[in-house]
């Protein structure tokens, strides 16, 4: 009996093995997918079907765009997306397959529309009792694809800024968007969805079916086109669940191996993009340096979160004998922490375990992953442009230290570039800290937040609010889900945080891309700081950690640190 019960591997060994599988598979996809993506975004030839679609859309695929034109495309397309998803929700009762559900309220519809267009997928609602199949697939699933393609496009535009010389242009947004969807996301999704179905993820239009349970009770078994949405939810680092329990729901994530597959899907594109960067700037080593920084932070973060959950801090956790509250038996602690680390270190925000019930330091790691700006390896596209902006800051700091003119990849980092990069790293902390502070500083809002929204009173309740704004401003979408966020304050404030947290950085990144593209390349001299060596990787990690720690340490001390140390 004992032999059977204790046949599971020691937790750290299974963590190591899972990590090893990730390294091997992602090492392979990094090469293959990275090279494929490079061809996709640099190729001059269009597929026949693409030419047809360009004609339908009214786009000249050979027209190169300046950064303002590229940005106009991003913003116009996103605006139309918000309006469409909002509209679809408001007319839900008249749509087919609405499952008899009413239209969500106006603030909630706004919040959800913004949430899916900004690649956040924060959900202030419980999906199975709020949204029918038409809104899910025509509204949300479509945004899962296109918001991901927009993210990749912006990252590629920034890379072109480094690669181009003395041009005013950074590519064509509509071409990048269509190719991203058609050549990258769609084929992987079709294959991935079918594999997920084989694992038990459902794909039907049955609605709810009533079952008579073994003991004679009744149970309503849900249906839905889940697999098709699940795969792009992961691949596009979106994270919005078909069901309230998200990837903890057995119909979204039925087994140990689907869990690993979903983790791989989240990481595939963010891990491949540094290779695209290396290829396009003509020096693969630059890509490896960026990837190394991402990898070191990811592994450290996973190790710390796993340590915290296995140690099992908290009085309730200790009474239970382990941190299994909010976790599924089939995943266990390690399967949950690997998923949670991946989900918060990318911009996915899917959960296969409830972060609100994590130990104080485990929850702290999820928060930190988002607070460093989700760049280890980050969301699709946003991870790469995020870490490249930090690299610019790192080059600048190194330049100040040794008195060299800061350059990165042969481009001078002047006053304009540093201004844009500095603004970039200020946006999300400002949104997070302001949103959290206002939630408690305005008396009427504070009363509502404390009485209606907060689920766990005291310090942990403060962490719930901090987590919500951190998640929204960084476009993650995970939550300390005890928080009731379907209130006028949170739907509006988090909606604004998601919008500004997505599009202000995009404006700055595209401006940066335009400014870099306009420059000529300065030749490498003895005085040039090499940006492909371990020394620079260390510097990059140092800047990431220091910038985060300085900004967020005080607020973390009020929340998870206080809870964990008390």
């Amino acid at each position: 009996m004992d032999a059977l019960v204790h046949s599971d591997l020691p937790a750290w060994l299974s963590a190591g093995l899972a990590l090893l599988v990730l390294v091997v598979v992602l090492g392979l996809t990094h090469r293959l997918l990275g090279d494929y993506l490079t061809r996709v975004y640099t190729s001059e030839s269009d597929w026949r079907v693409e030419r047809g679609l360009y004609r339908l859309m009214g786009v000249d695929p050979r027209a190169e765009q300046s950064w303002p034109a590229y940005l106009r495309g991003v913003l116009a397309f996103s605006l139309v997306g918000v309006l469409l998803v909002y509209l679809l929700q408001r007319i839900q009762p008249w749509l087919p397959y609405s499952l008899g559900l009413p239209a969500p309220s106006e603030p909630l519809s706004f919040n959800t529309a913004v949430s899916f267009v900004t690649n956040t997928n924060w959900q202030s609602y419980s999906p199975e009792v709020t949204l029918g199949y038409t809104v899910q697939l025509a509204g949300l699933a479509v945004q899962n694809f296109v918001s991901a393609a927009v993210g990749i496009a912006v990252a590629i535009a920034l890379v072109r800024g480094f690669a181009h010389r003395r041009t005013g242009t950074i590519g064509n947004f509509w071409v990048d968007l269509l190719r991203g969807c058609l050549r990258v996301l769609l084929p992987i999704s079709v294959v991935g969805a079918i594999v997920l179905i084989a694992g038990g993820v459902i794909q039907n239009f049955s609605g709810f079916q009533t079952a008579t349970t073994l003991v004679g009770g009744t149970q309503s078994i849900p249906g839905g086109p889940v697999a098709s949405q699940e795969v792009i939810k992961m691949l596009g680092t979106n994270g919005g669940g078909f069901f309230n329990a998200n990837s903890a729901h057995p119909f979204e994530n039925p087994t140990g191996w689907t869990n690993l597959l979903e983790i791989l899907l989240m990481l595939a594109i963010p891990v491949a993009l540094p290779r695209v960067f290396g290829r396009m700037v003509g020096d693969l080593r630059q890509g490896y340096a960026v990837l190394a920084a991402m990898g070191v932070i990811f592994v450290a973060s996973f190790g710390l979160m796993t340590w915290a959950e296995l140690a099992g801090g908290g009085s309730a956790t200790q009474a239970a004998g382990g941190a299994m509250e909010g976790k599924e038996q089939r995943f266990g602690i390690v399967g949950s922490t690997l998923f949670s680390t991946t989900s918060t270190a990318t911009s996915t925000g899917a959960v296969n375990a409830m972060h609100d019930s994590f130990t104080p330091f485990g929850g702290l790691m999820a928060l930190l992953n988002m607070m460093i700006g989700e760049l280890a390896p980050g969301g699709v596209g946003s991870g790469l442009y995020g870490i490249l902006v930090i690299a610019i800051i790192a080059v600048f700091i190194a330049g100040l230290l040794v008195g060299r003119t800061p350059e990165y990849l042969g481009k001078k980092i002047g006053a304009r570039e540093i201004k844009l990069a500095s603004l970039y790293i200020l946006v999300t902390p400002a949104l997070v800290l302001l949103g959290t502070a206002l939630s408690f500083a305005i008396p009427a809002i504070r009363a509502d937040v404390v009485s209606t929204s907060i689920w766990n009173p005291g310090i942990h309740g403060f962490s719930e609010v901090l987590y919500a704004f951190t998640s929204a401003a960084n476009n993650n979408g995970s939550a300390f889900a005890g928080l009731t966020a379907n209130t006028p304050w949170f739907t509006t404030a988090l909606g604004v945080a998601m919008l500004l947290g997505r599009f202000v950085p995009i404006v700055l990144v595209l401006a940066l891309a335009g400014s870099l593209a306009a420059q000529d390349r300065v030749p490498v001299t003895a005085g040039t700081l090499p940006t492909h060596r371990p020394q620079f990787v260390g510097l990059l990690i140092g800047v990431i950690v220091i910038v985060t720690a300085l900004t967020y340490f005080p607020v973390l001390a009020l929340g998870p640190l206080a809870e964990g140390l008390s």
Partner: protein
């Protein structure tokens, strides 16, 4: 001003047409293809791994946990019990998947855990220290179909006594239903409670 308005209008026009194209392609066509392939090649999985009784009526899904309690929520001794659940008012409401979201220092959770431990120990006549962690904690989905082998084996004597079966027979059935982690290291060993209880019902007959 005039040209910039025109440029903006033209960009918005492209955006609207693009959104229509993507909605048809990625919302409609893509979903249709995946649904078609799933229903054609793997209908059992695509439809929810459903379990049907001998008369064809729906009993549930092997992937979705169930309660084995009276309507009032009291555990029935003749069935293996699932984990605690926070889905819906009474637990295992598959239309309301949810975890408890109670924090690690929650007084309510600590109290609930202690009560569950005492109840399970008394119900199965074991030492409270023997009750495993999954038995006293609610899952993330509230629909966890599984329990740990330890919790299943702990219930053997009670179930066997309630059904008037030899404990060895019930134990052998449990051991047959222990599923190791995928590839030996992904996740933990599990026992699917609905599958186990369904097999148990057949055993009695």
């Amino acid at each position: 001003m005039n040209t910039s308005t025109r440029t903006t209008a033209r960009t918005l026009g492209v955006a609207v047409r693009a959104m229509v194209v993507f909605t048809l392609l990625l919302g409609v066509a893509y979903t249709a293809v995946v649904t078609g392939v799933g229903q054609l090649l793997m209908p059992a999985q695509a439809n929810g791994s459903l379990v049907r009784a001998a008369d064809g009526s729906l009993t549930g899904s092997t992937l979705i946990g169930q309660s084995f309690t009276t309507a009032k929520g009291e555990p029935l001794a003749q069935w293996f019990q699932s984990r605690p659940s926070a889905a819906g008012e009474t637990g295992y409401d598959a239309g309301a998947s949810s975890g408890s979201n109670l924090g690690p220092n929650s007084g309510d959770l600590e109290k609930a855990v202690r009560e569950r431990r005492a109840q399970i120990a008394a119900f199965n006549r074991v030492d409270p220290a023997e009750v495993p962690v999954d038995a006293v904690t609610a899952s993330g989905s509230g629909l966890d179909p599984d329990i740990s082998p330890a919790y299943a084996l702990l219930q053997v004597e009670r179930v066997a006594a309630a059904r008037d079966l030899p404990a060895a027979t019930v134990r052998a059935l449990v051991e047959k239903h222990i599923q190791g982690p995928d590839l030996g290291f992904l996740g933990q060993s599990t026992v699917d409670v609905l599958e186990l209880n369904s097999a148990l019902a057949k055993l009695t007959r």
